[in-house]
């Protein structure tokens, strides 16, 4: 399993490594997070109570409203922010927010990425050229 690589259809941001926080669930900064504490706060979310700060979030799909486009910037300014976002499916808001906040984002896989990467795995993200996530 180690060094297994999964290619994405699109990416932006910087190449980086870190610890994966994985769930088969959606993502919206407004709906799902307590941004002051840096934890998932929506009780129904599969990561409820867990810290996202500095983790590489691997989730199913971007959800919810437009607020994430500003919120990622605000979270990045306070340095309580995921290191990167890896999603099966994005919506435009996640792309717009990542572009403003300079948060690394990759998305679009030919497998379900939330099933392919174990929670807690060390991974590398490359958003450039041919974007990928690789298990270390």
């Amino acid at each position: 399993m180690s060094n297994k690589i999964f290619y994405a259809t699109a990416g932006m941001g910087k190449k980086l490594q870190g610890e994966a926080l994985v769930a088969k669930d959606g993502f919206s900064a407004r709906y799902d997070l307590d941004r002051i504490k840096g934890v998932f706060s929506r009780p129904e979310h599969k990561l409820a109570g867990q810290s996202y700060n500095g983790r590489i979030l691997i989730l199913d799909a971007a959800k919810g409203g437009v607020a994430t486009a500003w919120m990622l910037y605000e979270m990045a300014a306070r340095r309580i922010v995921p290191a990167a976002l890896v999603l099966n499916a994005v919506n435009p808001i996640m792309v717009q927010g990542a572009a403003l906040a300079d948060v690394t984002l990759i998305s679009g896989f030919d497998i379900d990425i939330t099933q392919a990467i174990p929670n807690g795995a060390q991974v590398e993200i490359n958003p450039e050229d041919r974007p990928y996530i690789r298990m270390l």
Partner: protein, 415 residues
């Protein structure tokens, strides 16, 4: 992406650093999402409450607002989504001075950019609905889904930075729902029942949103036995966008691009189908009611109420008295009408509060909960029930009438 000479000049900074940033942002977003070029847009609508912006976002706006007028002003009509407060009610809501200060600073920055502070998420009911086929850059998912689906206009979800960019350049990347091929149905919902109450339309939106799953899905609803009105479409669309991140739906024989069901079905390709009935809608509602037997307040918001909804609420409250806070949130365009027509006075005589220009969940809902000891709320908005859990509330989804009876029973849930 192909850029025109004008767009290249913006990218090169010839119209100043703000328009350069805007074009650069649009190119980054457009490239990620596969846009081949940009499309001119007729309006932009910016979501930028300060609970989302935070101090960092407000400072970012203020820095741009210091530019010379010709460099900072928007090029097309650019309006705003609800703000994070109703200044006249802020003390009653126990909002803090720092929140109001941030709001004032953000408003000042937007005004310097010639943004029209409409502060509404129902601009399609109150400001200027787009015409079928027009391209726009709307923020607020409820605005996008209504104008795409009911008006036949064309917009993606444009978050604050992207909507501001569109205002500054007069364009947006041409991807997603600006394209004919993205507007065809990807799933079909066969209805065996038609909702009656607004909360039921919202709950149906929630059910369909969960079935749809992501932004790129376009449900077509078949089998409704009547044409939903504007407020019903509003609640259905807002919940569908909230639960499913969906930006466009069709209703066979009802919405403008689906005069016939076949008009929105992809040629020669089967799409998935789901049967949805009353039991599915009731199940979604029950999930919220089961966890709550009493509430601390009742909220009508998300989306803001139309003048018709305010009249319905005033009628329901006549001769009654709310014993817990009852908040009815509307737009700055509707509120003066409600005042003039006596609706505000009737609602407030019964113990309610009519608030304007804000939205409950966009107004520091977590801090208001802590300051007022609010933990559980009743609402007829399925969208609000979906969002507000993240702010620490337990919501109950009820009809407008049941919400009123609950408020008048001191918070004990009345169904």
């Amino acid at each position: 992406m192909r850029l025109t000479d004008y767009e290249q000049s913006l990218l090169a900074g010839e119209a100043g650093p703000l328009r350069q940033w805007a074009m650069d942002h649009q190119v980054k977003v457009g490239r990620y999402l596969g846009a081949k070029d940009l499309v001119p847009v007729v309006q932009a609508h910016i979501m930028a409450d300060t609970e989302s912006l935070g101090k960092a976002g407000v400072e970012w706006l203020e820095n741009w607002a210091k530019l010379p007028p010709e460099q900072r002003r928007v090029k097309i009509p650019t309006i705003t989504d609800p703000r994070g407060t109703d200044f006249a009610a802020a003390e009653r809501m126990k909002q803090q001075p720092w929140m109001l200060d941030l709001e004032r600073r953000a408003i000042k920055a937007f005004e310097a950019m010639s943004v029209l502070m409409t502060n509404t998420c129902i601009n399609y009911q109150t400001i200027m609905p787009p015409v079928k086929g027009e391209h726009a850059a709307y923020g607020d998912t409820g605005v996008v889904i209504y104008t795409n689906s009911v008006c036949g206009a064309r917009s993606n979800f444009e978050g604050g930075p992207s909507a501001l960019s569109a205002g500054l350049t007069g364009r947006t990347p041409r991807y997603g729902f600006h394209l004919d091929e993205r507007r065809l149905a990807t799933l079909r919902i066969n209805m065996s029942w038609t909702p009656r109450e607004l909360n039921e339309w919202g709950a149906l939106g929630g059910v369909v949103g969960r079935l749809a799953g992501d932004y790129w899905q376009v449900p077509v609803i078949a089998g409704l036995d009547r044409i939903p009105g504007s407020d019903e479409m509003k609640h259905f669309g807002a919940a569908l966008a909230s639960f499913g991140s969906v930006a466009l739906f069709h209703m066979a024989g009802i919405t403008p691009e689906a005069e016939r069901l076949e008009d929105v079905l992809p040629k020669g390709k089967a799409i998935r189908e789901h049967a949805v009935g009353e039991q599915d809608v009731r199940a979604l509602q029950k999930r919220y009611i089961n966890e709550v037997d009493s509430v601390d307040l009742v909220v009508f918001s998300a989306p803001q109420l139309s003048i018709v909804e305010l009249q319905q609420l005033a009628d329901l409250l006549d001769g009654r008295q709310a014993k817990i806070p009852l908040l009815a949130v509307t737009s700055p365009q509707v509120k003066p009408d409600a005042d003039r027509m006596g609706l505000t006075a009737r609602i407030e005589a019964a113990g309610g509060s009519v608030l304007e220009g804000m939205c409950f969940y966009q107004s520091y809902a977590r801090e208001m909960a802590e300051a007022n000891n609010w933990k559980k709320l009743a609402t007829n908005s399925a969208k609000l029930t979906n969002i507000i859990g993240g702010y620490g509330y337990k919501p109950a989804l009820l009809s407008m009438e049941a919400c009123v009876r609950t408020a008048c029973a001191g918070g004990r849930i009345a169904q």
